[in-house]
């Protein structure tokens, strides 16, 4: 059957995206999970993936066009009779299988029918792209002088020295503002905090990291993600989306990891099926995700599918944060800095590396008692890290 490949909603408040590039040409076979197009949003460049197998029949939108969410980008002749419309956000239960990162320059030739519509991907750093946009500079006119022709910030600035201004992430800031305002307006948040002794996790991590090469080491944050994924699959009411006036629980656990962007802004793409992956696999995927987010190459399935979010302020931050739920999700877990604190254990005052976990929950779905069980369960799992 013939299905429409549409501009997906890559976040609660996205209204449109700019088609930057086609990665496939008409007549080419696409498989579920293949990146078909690159779309620029306020969150950066996103690879839009196909949601079914088929053949790309027709490109409807042209690069450069700003396309509203839900509008047709292309048409795909699907192999399946019961195809899911392509380009719609993944149902939480059925994301495309994660694929290997797209190569930096897939050899996709231009077509005569749509000149320039399909071009080899030019490497442009996110900072350069942003600055070029701010300064209204056509990136095609910028010579990349970085490795393999990478267009860097300085290449753009060299071209625009008289017009230089301080960069501002106004678009992303507006998107975050809109999503968080909606969250605070619509979601009756409640907040809980629970401090846990992180020494078992620390000791286990130190031992593990000492036993493997540097490129196989783990970081604290990945243990937290795994613990949250396990706990949320055991305790009802925190994993899923609140849509059409009701909570829709998700069987699959896709943990959104809040990733800060240098210079401001953040995005929270998902680690898919995090409860079923071991910590080493999660670490590889998390590392890849952070690299791609900061390098400007997220995938649509990662942006649209998180069923719960974890936000970790990092080792140099404060001890406690009160996160805001990312709609349509119904819970977010926050982690402050892991720091040495006075701790009472077996009646003895000692010093321990401690971590304060917080939960923002949605009162339309759960209340503090369930939230307390959820946070405590995360703490229990972190106390026995070898079993994560």
């Amino acid at each position: 059957m013939r299905i429409d490949f549409r501009m997906p909603a890559l976040g609660a408040d996205m209204e449109s995206g700019t088609l930057t590039q086609w990665l496939k040409k008409p007549g080419e076979r696409v498989r579920r999970g293949d990146a078909v197009a690159v779309v620029e949003t306020t969150k950066g460049l996103i690879d839009i993936e196909a949601f079914d197998d088929g053949v790309l029949e027709e490109l409807v939108a042209q690069p450069g066009a700003t396309v509203p969410v839900g509008a047709v980008l292309a048409r795909i002749a699907s192999d399946s009779a019961s195809a899911v419309p392509a380009g719609l956000p993944a149902a939480p239960e059925r994301p495309p299988a994660p694929t290997s990162p797209p190569s930096a320059s897939p050899a996709v030739p231009s077509t005569a029918a749509a000149p320039g519509a399909v071009a080899s991907r030019r490497r442009i750093s996110p900072a350069a792209r942003r600055r070029a946009h701010e300064l209204s500079i056509d990136l095609a006119s910028v010579a990349g002088r970085g490795p393999e022709g990478l267009v860097r910030l300085e290449d753009v600035e060299r071209l625009a020295e008289p017009a230089l201004q301080k960069p501002q992430r106004t678009g992303m800031r507006a998107t975050i503002g809109a999503a968080m305002a909606r969250s605070k307006r619509e979601i009756p948040h409640y907040y809980l905090a629970h401090s846990v002794d992180f020494s078992a996790a620390r000791d286990w991590l130190s031992g593990f990291n000492a036993s493997v090469p540097v490129d196989e080491r783990l970081i604290d944050g990945v243990l937290l993600i795994k613990a949250v994924a396990r706990a949320v699959s055991e305790i009802e009411g925190f994993n899923g989306h609140f849509l059409d006036g009701q909570f829709q629980r998700s069987e699959a656990v896709h943990v959104g990891a809040a990733i800060a962007l240098r210079g401001g802004g953040l995005v929270a793409p998902a680690l898919l099926d995090a409860n079923h992956k071991d910590v080493k696999t999660l670490m590889r995927e998390f590392s890849d995700l952070v690299t791609r987010v900061r390098g400007g190459h997220m995938r649509s399935s990662e942006l649209a599918s998180a069923t719960i979010t974890v936000t970790n302020l990092g080792s140099e931050a404060v001890e406690l944060l009160f996160p805001v739920i990312n709609p349509p999700q119904v819970a977010i877990v926050g982690a402050g800095a892991i720091a040495e604190r006075p701790w009472v254990r077996d009646g003895v005052l000692c010093v321990r590396p401690a971590l304060t976990l917080t939960l923002a929950g949605d009162h339309r779905v759960t209340d503090g008692r369930a939230g307390s069980r959820f946070l405590r369960r995360i703490g229990e799992l972190l106390a026995d890290p070898a079993k994560l």
């Binding site: 900072a127 490795p147 860097r152 300085e154 540097v214 080491r217 800060a260 240098r262 590392s287």
Partner: protein, 84 residues
Amino acid sequence: MENKEIADRLLALLTDVAPDIDPATVVPELRLSDQFDFDSMDTLHFAIAISREFGIDVAERDYAQLASLAGACGYVQSKLAARG
């Protein structure tokens, strides 16, 4: 290896690890976390890159010495010197 060469190679590694950093703005003495919001993932990626580039083992307990470019430079020098 000359200090200048180590510093140049470290700066190149830094911008490989974090391509969204403008190398011209790096102040060697300042902490990368303060200048560029470096986090634990960045530090790990930097440690991996240093380990590969210079062929040295960067222990996890040594990460604190990679907190600034100048610190990393001193660390690599001492590791290379110890290797002889």
